[in-house]
Symmetry: C2
Subunit: 420 residues, 2 copies
């Protein structure tokens, strides 16, 4: 058996636990020196491959590899970059990729990303088949949006879910303290342009001994202002206050984003996010209730300090299993998480064909959304609950996460420049 090199790349929006998947890939690759020579990591995803910016992961000590689980963001750099169609490539992207893979004798690609990245990995698999590169393409799942099909959940999501539910529970206790003479509605905007999984995770506050009065606005449910205001008024009447969690992707009856529907920011620009302020404005206008609003933005997906232990285990396992699949000669597959049971929560890793994953978005199913559209069902709660279980301990230094400086340097290039 010849020993060829492998390449790991991070792609798309990063998460609190994506580096645990990197750790999984690196550790498993190190256990197979007879099959994998050098494991490179692309600097900034596929863009780094095009630029031939490749980091030799053997510069990391075993301890440094272990420490990757502690670190949010993408340690090797990620990117937003969509490959052109295979048969319409005026810029010569694919020939360049072929050159880079050949120049560094890459026999396996571990591509760590979400739906778009599965598409990239799939295209590279087809490219390999066309050019007989012998490049095994294995996708490692990751997305806070939890919208990958064929897998029970996506690494990255459980930690955001824990962040959202914890933050909401804490903020609701704050609002409850003050609602008699101050704020009565707290609006929190969460990520999820097309799928409402992150918004749904706010419903996990139902697990608390004393749940917060909560309305959720999903991208899957057209926004109905009258019903919304009536429900806000009802909750305030009953509890003295309420919380609203709104997905950035919530749309009106015509299918337009609420945050984009002709509304502009203070400069006349289309708003950069900010649907929370739109909803808060509506509440003030309608009922005169004092509102506060929050937009955690990147804080939610970078919050390694609130990572769920379950999510971190998933992230590590999918990285390790990607290597196992490669050793088993799989090609054009994505690692999946398969749920065995809800309670006790049991799961295992599996795999599914990339062709069935690329560009498919799995939104929140109707059975998970309450009939009135403003909350989640028991079935959703059963699904979500195990994903936020467990605290993923962190090493601290001066009261802050101890993020090490790592020796990451690109290896000497063998090819000419390529402009991306």
């Amino acid at each position: 058996m010849t020993v060829r090199n492998a390449l790991y790349a991070q792609s798309g929006g990063v998460t609190a636990v994506i580096n645990a998947s990197a750790r999984g890939v690196i550790e498993a690759a190190r256990q197979n020196p007879d099959r994998i020579g050098t494991l490179f990591a692309a600097h900034n995803g596929i863009v780094g491959v095009l630029r031939e910016a490749l980091i030799d992961t053997s510069s990391l000590s075993d301890d440094q590899v272990t420490s990757l689980s502690q670190r949010p963001g993408g340690v090797f750099g990620s990117c937003r970059y969509k490959l052109p169609p295979l048969d319409d490539d005026p810029e010569g992207i694919y020939p360049r990729l072929v050159d880079v893979f050949r120049a560094h004798d890459i026999g396996t690609l571990f591509y760590n990303g979400g739906g778009d990245s599965a598409d990239t990995a799939h295209k590279l698999g087809l490219l390999s088949d066309q050019h007989q590169l012998g490049l095994q393409c294995i996708a490692v799942p990751k997305t806070v949006d939890n919208d990958l099909p064929m897998t029970d959940c996506s690494p990255g999501f459980g930690s955001v879910a824990r962040y959202v539910a914890t933050s909401l529970l804490e903020a609701s206790l704050d609002v409850r303290s003050m609602c008699d003479t101050s704020t009565k509605v707290f609006v929190m905007e969460v990520m999820g342009r097309h799928a409402g999984w992150i918004a749904a995770s706010a419903g996990l506050v139902a697990l608390a001994a004393d749940p917060s009065p909560l309305l959720i606005l999903f991208p899957e449910v057209p926004f109905q202002p009258e019903a919304f205001h009536a429900e806000v008024d009802r909750l305030i009447e009953q509890h003295g206050y309420c919380c609203v969690v709104v997905s950035e992707g919530v749309r009106d009856d015509c299918g337009d984003f609420l945050a984009d529907s002709g509304r502009t920011d203070a400069f006349g620009h289309q708003q950069l996010g900010g649907v929370a302020a739109v909803i808060a404005g509506m509440i003030v206008e309608n009922g005169g209730h004092k509102c506060h609003w929050a937009v955690p933005d990147y804080l939610q997906r970078a919050a390694r300090h609130l990572a769920s232990a379950t999510d971190l285990s998933h992230a590590l396992a999918v990285g390790r299993h990607a290597v196992a699949l490669a050793m088993d000669h799989h090609h054009q597959v994505m690692v999946t998480i398969e749920r065995i049971s809800d309670s006790p929560y049991q799961w295992k890793v599996g795999h599914a064909p990339l062709a069935e994953i690329a560009n498919v978005e799995a939104g929140v199913p109707a059975a998970y959304i309450r009939e009135d559209g403003f909350g989640i069902t028991e079935q959703a709660l059963t699904y979500l609950a195990p994903l936020i279980e467990g605290d993923a301990s962190q090493v601290l230094r001066h009261g802050l996460p101890d993020i090490q400086t790592l020796p990451l340097q690109c290896v000497p290039r063998k090819l000419s420049d390529f402009k991306v």
Copy 2:
């Protein structure tokens, strides 16, 4: 020595650790049954006193009292309510307070709040002197804004500081991963209308092994757009990205709030917060850099999950010491934190006269702000560093903070209704 009752009240914006002070007061009061009879807690601060809505804290078991340290927000309810001047009281607020204090034989008041609350406690002390109520007034400090004079720091601040620095460090790793093809500037808005302590705490990322490139906008420093954009451009040139932490209270050259200076939200209303979006808009307009922005709002001051152990110790200690001061016949004083040394960090509790505290705001001193106005000095770092030390462990249930439901009920009223 006669045994009289005591009253504890929470006032103003709540914090992640204010209930640890409540715990301190309750525990210490329980240790002095020969001096303190019933310890009441006002439901919703001074408003609850006016309404004669008083909770008998003896309904809480010792374990429940201990668990208060786990709980953000104000467990007994707080309020925003400013007492009128003592000599201009057309609504009869003060006679009502006298009635309530007498009806329940209140001999000591523990008033847990910030600057405005110190003013309230001070007025109540004067009221007691006027009417010979024999009411000892002890203020227990609390404010995330850290703007109380005469104390080294205010309980509540250290935890927000840890939240801000941790969140910023995490988000900056996210932005760094993606800056080559995506967001180059991350703007985070923090609380602090008049004092920039919370904004300053972002500078704690300098303690990280690999500090984030950061600009801070303080309310103490008039906003200079040209210098700001030049510094943003410089940091992006050098690091590929940067973070901006902006205090909600940042003002322009004319002293107007940036968030209020004629700029309106999508509905034509004056913006509810949202200076982060204003700054992001300016950055996009000036340099075309892709921006993301976050407004954690209440999440920052409710984040018990990120409380610093130091802050939690302070909060507990000031509660306990308030009772000790009462036992020592002090009146019209606030408990203070006194710093003995920076490193190793050593501190003790003390006290200061309320008359010197009420309505005085202690902003960030000039020596703590870097000469260019966009960061903190070494001296500031030395001051801030100990305040975020230590993780304050939390009890979890289903992956969320385990917030207990407590038996809190108001005692029967003895007086007639009073409309507040």
